[in-house]
């Protein structure tokens, strides 16, 4: 074959195609019903049963709607379990809009600081473009969630419920993009003109003041303090003293978020095993905790997840939810979509190739709330709490089979007491390696 596509080539392809009637069967199914609906493996779907030998009492399912806040939802779902147990209530939801407000504000500051620092690089340099592509989006990571709750605390949803803008962020994000790219151009000019640092800081302060106003108008002002009143499972009334969001967090969240380790399975050749990676361009807060991936491989991750679930602690994790998944039924199972059979093609590529060539990447955070262990104590499926409302999956919960974990899970956040102690020691001994943000491991979860 030549570099161009000749009409002879096409005639040859056409002959191959017409020689097999199976293709026509597929064609009729696909042109009428679409691709996925024509290739769901029902037998496998029926095998992935939503019952689990180990299960946590999670709250009612949440809904991130049309926003990229999965990481906040999953983070809050992890810590609300502690509150549900402590207050002995059936359900409690923590405000995602509250964290969103401060996330946008901090991201704006983070972005403007980077624009100042990168002012002498071309505006279309890879670093600058990476910042413009990520800074106004909703996505994030566990460490960014920890940054927010430590600095600003948490509040129950009723004190800052979701509004039109918090659950459908496109208008807000485009407004902030317009404003902050304009601000970036002004700051770059100021740095190049060798303006005093204090003057640049004042300019930035005025810019953030505008961002604050836009956020307050769009999301409402976050509460400064609140008084929580509730009825517990036994219908008993309780009233807590008035407190600030930070006080509420410090008083009732007794788990230490510093004890959580980000274990990951990154097959990139450039990433060494048992090494910790971070990237200075991926964060929401100046001076915040770094976003870290400790590359320990898949097996220790599974063990830590199971230990944690057995001890009734849910687990934040990130994965490629777009691959081998059916949303409506809530199934994440390797082979659930038989596309290879439908198209008579080989789509197999190992995890390393998929990630290096960008066909699979970590894009969504959810929460493990259960696991099914066989008679030998080995996991065969997991219960997953998603944040896509209750109309998907089983009342909003998804089932993941073990092979899907191997292939499409990238990261779990587990308390170090549930992790193999040798691994914890290696983690604590190793220095963080700083790398560039240009592979898919650094894409934000949304």
């Amino acid at each position: 074959m030549k570099n161009t596509l000749s009409l002879d080539d096409i005639a040859k392809f056409d002959k191959n195609y017409s020689s097999n009637k199976d293709y026509l069967v597929s064609e009729r199914a696909v042109t009428k019903n679409g691709i996925d609906a024509s290739c769901v493996d029902d037998a496998l779907k029926n095998q992935v049963n939503p019952t689990f030998s180990v299960e946590i009492n999670a709250g009612t399912i949440t809904n991130q709607q049309k926003s990229g806040r999965c990481w906040m939802f999953s983070g809050l779902n992890v810590i609300r379990t502690a509150l549900i147990n402590k207050f002995e209530v059936k359900n409690l939801e923590l405000s995602q809009a509250f964290l969103q407000f401060y996330d946008k504000l901090e991201k704006a500051n983070f972005f403007l600081e980077k624009m100042i620092a990168l002012a002498n690089e071309d505006y279309d340099s890879r670093h600058n473009v990476f910042m413009i592509d990520t800074a106004f989006m909703d996505g994030g990571h566990w460490a960014m969630f920890v940054n927010l709750v430590k600095k600003y605390g948490i509040c129950p949803s009723q004190f800052m419920p979701d509004s039109i803008v918090s659950s459908n962020t496109s208008e807000l994000n485009s407004t902030l993009t317009t404003l902050l790219t304009k601000d970036a151009s002004i700051l770059r000019k100021a740095v190049k003109a060798k303006k005093e640092q204090s003057e640049i800081e004042n300019m930035k302060s005025d810019m953030l003041n505008e961002v604050y106003r836009i956020l307050a108008i769009s999301l409402g002002l976050p509460p400064k303090s609140f008084t929580l009143e509730y009825k517990d499972k036994n219908d008993k009334f309780a009233r807590l003293p008035q407190m600030t969001p930070v006080e509420f967090f410090k008083t009732y969240i007794t788990i230490d978020l510093d004890d959580y380790i980000s274990l990951c399975d990154s097959p990139l050749i450039s990433w060494k095993k048992m090494a910790s990676y971070t990237c200075p361009y991926v964060n929401n807060m100046v001076n915040g905790e770094p976003v870290v991936f400790f590359n320990c491989g898949i097996e220790p991750m599974k063990k830590a997840v199971i230990n944690s679930l057995k001890d009734h602690e849910p687990v934040f994790f990130s994965s490629d939810v777009l691959s081998q998944s059916i949303r409506k039924e809530g199934v994440l199972a390797n082979g659930i979509l038989k596309r290879e059979e439908l198209f008579h093609v080989n789509l197999t590529a190992d995890k390393q190739t998929r990630v290096s060539y960008r066909s699979s990447f970590c894009n969504h955070a959810m929460t493990f709330t259960g696991v099914n262990l066989d008679d030998n104590g080995n996991p065969n499926r997991y219960k997953v709490e998603n944040s896509w409302g209750k109309d998907n999956g089983t009342d909003g919960f998804f089932v993941m089979d073990d092979a899907w974990f191997d292939n499409y899970v990238f990261q779990v956040l587990v308390n170090k007491k549930y992790i193999d102690q040798d691994i914890v020691k290696t983690y604590e001994k190793n220095k963080l390696i700083e790398v560039e943000p240009f592979n898919t491991m650094w894409m934000n979860l949304d």
Binding site: Y23, D124, T175
Partner: protein, 445 residues
Amino acid sequence: MKEYVSLYDLQTFDKNFQRNSCNALAANAVASAGIDQVAVNNQTIRTLTHNFNVEVEGGTVTNQKRSGRCWMFAATNVMRFEVMKNLNLANMELSQNFPLFWDKLEKSNFFLENIIKTTNEELSSRLLAYLLASPLGDGGQWDMFVNIVNKYGVCPKEAMPETISSSNTMKMDKLLTTLLRKDASILRLEASKGAKTVTLRGLKEVMMSTIYQVLVICLGKPPVTFTYETRDKKNAFVSIKDITPKDFFAKYVKLDLSDYVSIINAPTKDKPFNHSFTVKFLGNIVEGSKVRYLNLPIEELKRLAIAQLKDGQAVWFGSDVGQYSDRVNGFLSENAYDYKTLLSADFTMDKATRLDYGESLMTHAMTLTGVNLEDKDKPTRWKVENSWGSETGKNGFYVMDDSWFDQFTYQIVVNKKYLTKEENKQYLADPIELEPWDPMGSLAL
């Protein structure tokens, strides 16, 4: 202010916010209705009317549904008017599934060739990241459409109608992308073991045959010949038997596409006016012509568009439709939304800064089908045919005010006979090559 956000800063911002009671009013309105609804400027509906003193005859509005084929819709909209004129039809539509099929097949070949060409580049380089990011997205450019028509022709919609996958391309695109990235990994691996280009092209042939198979399953097979029958405006029967797509174009569209040139308006420092440009690694057909743009001041784009509209021909154009566009009323106008008053923040930026800072670029192609001219041919508003169905705008048509044209229109395609002699020369001069990630290398979706 320091590098981080301090609690003192927050108190100051908060105080500033509380100082003006309008802010609380705005917050209450936005909480229940969202930003755009509250920012709608109600005056605009009184001034921006859907009337034009220059208008070309049009057909029924089309619908690209959930696909990024606007550029094909805009181009087939220009061409179907010619068919309607030539056959005296009240309405007809050209198949958009037909060019979609060939575009995907050719883009796959284009991508694999680029991979073969770049085996010496690091996988983590910006170039490979760019190539792998979107090997065969739906987006395109006028010149890419011309390539397809020159090689494959066009056919009426009846000869290759829509399928589920042509109207909603996401799944098909994802699967083809998976295949192509996997293929790229194989080609690079073989090259690293010393395979020569001819060996790699042998592998490519097998890969391309698979792509063809997937495309036929998803979109159906493009017709080799077809029969087109309809009734014309006078209810006379029209029958065109056993014609190929290329002959159909030659006989019934009858446009000499080599007469049509892309004019852009990119007022950034790095792009001098009156020069032509091309973009590296941008295209769909390996042997097709490369994209070529002549950069001119915006007033010149308007002069050219008006000249072509006055001659009764629609104009393909590219703009950033995500800016200040009201889908309900069909407005493209900075006066459609008053964000400045609502949010008390100044969003003003000039066109060059917007391009440089990634705030705006060409994202969508539509068709200009009319203009309202005052004295001395001064345009006040433009009639726009979109491809989002008849439920948006006024039966699918939009009205663009002249300042939106200034700010957010980046490209028009016109017959070169309207260009000055100088401009024709400049268009043909050696183009300046832009990097693939340049904002002017963006594709219309």
